[in-house]
């Protein structure tokens, strides 16, 4: 801003920008910035480590975004604190200025580059899960959700999913998916309430719903997908760490929404074979 001291007029008003108010407001801003930056920098709250390479790519993109936003956050919030204190009314004259086109140009260009660049970089992690098709040897599991349970179906030894017949759906008699009793391919299908997959194999889930919209979310996979009735949405991932992870529904699906819960068991090859042989026991 140009120095326009000589052009400035004196206000007839008595000063009304008390230093105490300005100081308190600036102090609160500074405290807010410090606490926020500390919590994020010290990583006090975070999701557990990702168990897929895609999950780690998501984390990288998250961190990059954190650096960019933190820079803007710190500069603008501390700038606000400074301006509030420094330019409180203590009898000075206001500097007359209608703006500055150069500055407008600079910060517009800078934010375009920064924000759009970030968005375009973010494509990588998204593309790996959603654009690329699964490997030919991926293990296929059908995920069918309804109020308020998950069901996972494996094709069994024949490798073929049996046909479904909605008329035969009956959770109470042990056929929650309505596997057609007349289709031989369905006889050996395994239907279980938890998802078991072998470590270091690609898994493709085909996610659907029988009634309302649900969701499939595992924090460690960094993966969420709605289960939409009428659609089968495929997603794939390759878990790299043996363990048990919680599966939750994140889409409001009715009364029992918060009780809708299951587990992802990532197991060794041997354990996976045993799981299949036993028919899901």
């Amino acid at each position: 801003m140009r120095n326009t001291n000589q052009m400035v007029i004196r206000s007839r008003k008595r000063e009304s920008g008390s230093a105490a108010t300005a100081g308190l407001l600036a102090l609160l801003q500074v405290i807010m910035v410090c606490v926020t930056v500390y919590v994020f920098a010290a990583n006090l709250y975070s999701a557990p480590d990702a168990i897929t390479s895609v999950g780690r790519a998501v984390d990288e993109q998250y961190k990059l975004t954190l650096y960019v936003t933190a820079t803007v956050f710190i500069l603008s919030q501390l700038g606000l604190a400074y301006a509030v204190y420094r330019f409180r009314d203590h009898g000075q004259k206001a500097h007359f200025s209608r703006g500055n086109n150069t500055m407008e140009f600079v910060w517009t260009t800078a934010t375009i580059v920064l924000f759009l660049g970030l968005g375009i970089l973010g494509r990588r992690a998204w593309a790996e899960v959603r654009f690329t098709p699964p490997a030919a040897d991926a293990i296929h599991v059908e995920v069918t959700e309804n109020q308020f349970v998950f069901n996972f179906r494996y094709p069994g030894p024949d490798g073929i999913f049996g046909k479904l017949d909605p008329k035969q759906i009956s959770a109470s008699t042990g056929n929650p998916l309505g596997i057609d009793s007349h289709d031989p391919a369905g006889k050996d299908d395994i239907v279980v309430p938890t998802l078991t997959v072998p470590v270091n194999h690609q898994v493709e889930l085909m996610i659907g719903s029988q009634d309302v919209i649900h969701n499939f979310f595992v924090r460690e996979l960094r993966l969420q997908q709605d289960a939409v009735p009428g659609l089968i949405v495929p997603i794939h991932f390759t878990p790299e760490k043996i363990g048990q992870y919680e599966i939750v529904c994140t889409q409001l699906c009715g009364l029992g929404h918060s009780r809708m819960h299951s587990y992802l068991n990532v197991v060794s090859d041997a354990d996976y074979d045993a799981f299949l042989k036993s028919g899901g026991q």
């Binding site: 206001a94 200025s97 375009i112 924000f115 009634d211």
Partner: protein, 589 residues
């Protein structure tokens, strides 16, 4: 048009003040009375909305404590979800849409452009009373058989489309919800038409577009958004009502099986509802916040005693936000099963809306820079607005990226983001407007110490509630969960939830300072002069409160831009827009 015809001439015939209580205060066609009616409706709604949110917060951390207003004392899961739904609906529609636009827009848009009233006063009255009906309808949802709906303010189908078979509240309650929303859309459409016509046709002589106060820009662009957005939700609401009651299947696909029962629907798409809803829903975010941005600019300039930094850039940024706001709705649907390619396109468009938002932020800082800042209560709330808008806006850059959204979608991170940026920031805009214009609306000043107390509690409280919510979200805390007991990792987040609940309770209680101040000042505040803040725009040249025709027949002409503060060579540190150039008191060289 008519305002020009009135300008300077006798306006008594056309603008005779109505007689009788009902014509004057109930079925009034005076935009000022209607503005106050909207404001009082929003005030009622916000108190209900706050009570609902405090009940929710209590239930989240002390589920076994007996609660008032809850039948049975202890809240059930469906009651919690009903509160989630009703809190969101009441706050978004009846507070954040109603107060800034219907309330302050109605009252001050005609005065700030030098008009005697809205272009269509009877239409204006109709939009208020239809909004009132909508409000009665949404409150009635609490009392119908089955209670209030549990499908959230987004009302996703099929949960909302099949009737009570999908859950309690999904019968009558959901029907009342759809009826209320549809009525609200209708009323807002009428209001939007009126605002647009008024801004285009009724500006005083000399009030060019780039001499309009930024508040008027905010209301004008908001009205355009409303005109384009509410019609879409209205259509969606009618189709959803038909699905529920006439057996159609716009949003319901074949093969739905609920509770082992096959539903007799085929051919619809649940995603169609989401597209229609969010085609309205995202512009709605800007409908809530653009008037607040206008108020923030207006108030910052007034109390920094400086012109708005980059006025034209600010006006253009409002337009850019409005324009881009219509092309980003898909970012609510990244994980919905929508095409991932669309997801990427929506992502880049969403990131680009950060650009005009950043322009606004930098210009607000530029307005303060080098100023002579007076810390009146409206100024504090306007500064708070900027702070909260920045904090809440930046988290949007995470959610705008579908890859990162895979982790954060439907967590408390989202709740924190939109509450800061469109909830609390917008409410700070409303508070700034209230403290700023109260003297004009009611002819009395509000109490400064009480106002400041209100600000400190609310500012600190807002951060204590919503900043920790980001941390809950990053750790995977899921929103809309009535209880955390089923998921092991959620229980570890309970201590933060307790902190948030305590902060929420204190912040909610502190709003009593505002209510006391408001009603006490209404009766006993010191009398306000015409222009208590030494401000520049046209509302400050008329009486406080203004007469029925706003300017008592002396309609102003406009000679300069809206923010002429501390102009070099001028004696006063402000110049009214209506002051003739030869009347400006200049300093002798």
């Amino acid at each position: 048009m008519s305002s020009h015809a009135h300008g300077g001439h006798s306006a008594h015939g056309a603008m005779a003040a109505p007689q009788g209580f009902i014509r004057k205060y109930i079925f009034s066609v005076d935009h000022k009375v209607i503005g106050i009616q909207y404001f009082l409706l929003a005030l009622t709604a916000v108190l209900i909305g706050i009570v609902l949110s405090v009940l929710m917060r209590f239930h989240l951390v002390w589920p076994n404590v007996h609660l008032p207003f809850v039948s049975g004392g202890q809240m059930t899961q469906e009651q919690y979800l009903a509160l989630v739904t009703m809190h969101g609906t009441i706050m978004v529609f009846f507070v954040l849409t109603t107060a800034p636009q219907g309330g302050f827009g109605n009252y001050f848009l005609p005065i700030q452009i030098g008009a005697p009233d809205m272009a269509f006063p009877r239409l204006n009255m109709l939009s208020f009373w239809v909004t009132f009906l909508a409000f009665v309808a949404i409150l009635a949802a609490f009392f119908v058989p089955g209670g209030a709906p549990i499908s959230g303010w987004t009302g996703y189908t099929p949960l909302s489309g099949l009737g009570e078979i999908t859950g309690p509240g999904e019968g009558w309650g959901q029907t009342m919800w759809i009826t209320s929303i549809s009525l609200f859309c209708l009323a807002s459409l009428l209001g939007a038409l009126n605002f647009i016509a008024t801004t285009i046709d009724m500006r005083a002589p000399g009030m060019g577009l780039f001499r309009m106060p930024l508040t008027v820009w905010g209301w004008f662009v908001t009205a355009i958004l409303g005109l384009l957005a509410f019609g879409v939700l209205l259509a969606g609401g009618i189709l959803l009502l038909l699905d529920r009651s006439a057996g159609t299947s716009f949003f319901l696909p074949a093969g739905l099986v609920v509770n082992d029962q096959i539903q007799n629907h085929a051919g619809g798409s649940p995603l169609l509802w989401q597209h229609l809803f969010w085609f309205f829903g995202h512009p709605e975010v800007y409908i809530a916040i653009l008037p607040g941005m206008g108020v923030a600019s207006h108030v910052l300039s007034t109390f920094a005693r400086k012109p708005v930094f980059g006025y034209r850039a600010m006006a253009m940024a409002i337009c850019a936000i409005g324009f881009l706001g219509f092309m980003v709705w898909g970012h609510h649907m990244f994980v919905s099963g929508m095409s991932p390619y669309s997801g990427f396109a929506f992502s880049v468009l969403t990131m680009s809306i950060g650009v005009p938002s950043a322009i606004k932020t930098f210009n607000w800082l530029g307005t303060l820079w080098g100023g002579k800042i007076q810390f009146k209560t409206p100024m504090l709330f306007a500064i708070g607005f900027v702070s909260l808008f920045v904090s809440g806006g930046l988290s949007g850059l995470f959610l705008a990226q579908p890859a990162v959204d895979n982790l954060l979608h439907a967590t408390y991170y989202v709740v924190a983001h939109f509450h800061l940026v469109m909830g609390v920031a917008a409410i700070f805009g409303i508070f700034a407007a209230t403290y700023f214009w109260f003297p004009k609306m009611f002819g009395r000043m509000m109490n400064e110490p009480l106002g400041k107390l209100h600000f400190w509690f609310t500012f600190v409280g807002a951060y204590c509630i919503f900043m920790p919510m980001h941390w809950v979200g990053i750790a995977g805390g899921i929103r809309r969960y009535a209880d955390a007991s089923a998921v092991a990792y959620l229980q570890k987040l309970q201590p933060i939830h307790q902190f948030i609940t305590i902060a929420a309770f204190i912040t909610a209680a502190a709003q009593i300072f505002f209510l006391i101040n408001f009603f006490y000042s209404l009766k006993s505040g010191p009398k306000a002069s015409k222009n208590p803040w030494d401000a520049t725009t046209l509302e400050w040249i008329t009486d406080s409160p203004p007469p029925h025709d706003n300017f008592a027949g002396n309609y102003p002409s406009v000679y300069r831009g809206p923010y002429e503060f501390s102009v070099p060579g001028v004696k006063e540190d402000y110049i009214l827009q209506s002051l003739k150039p030869q009347e400006v008191d200049r300093v002798k060289e």
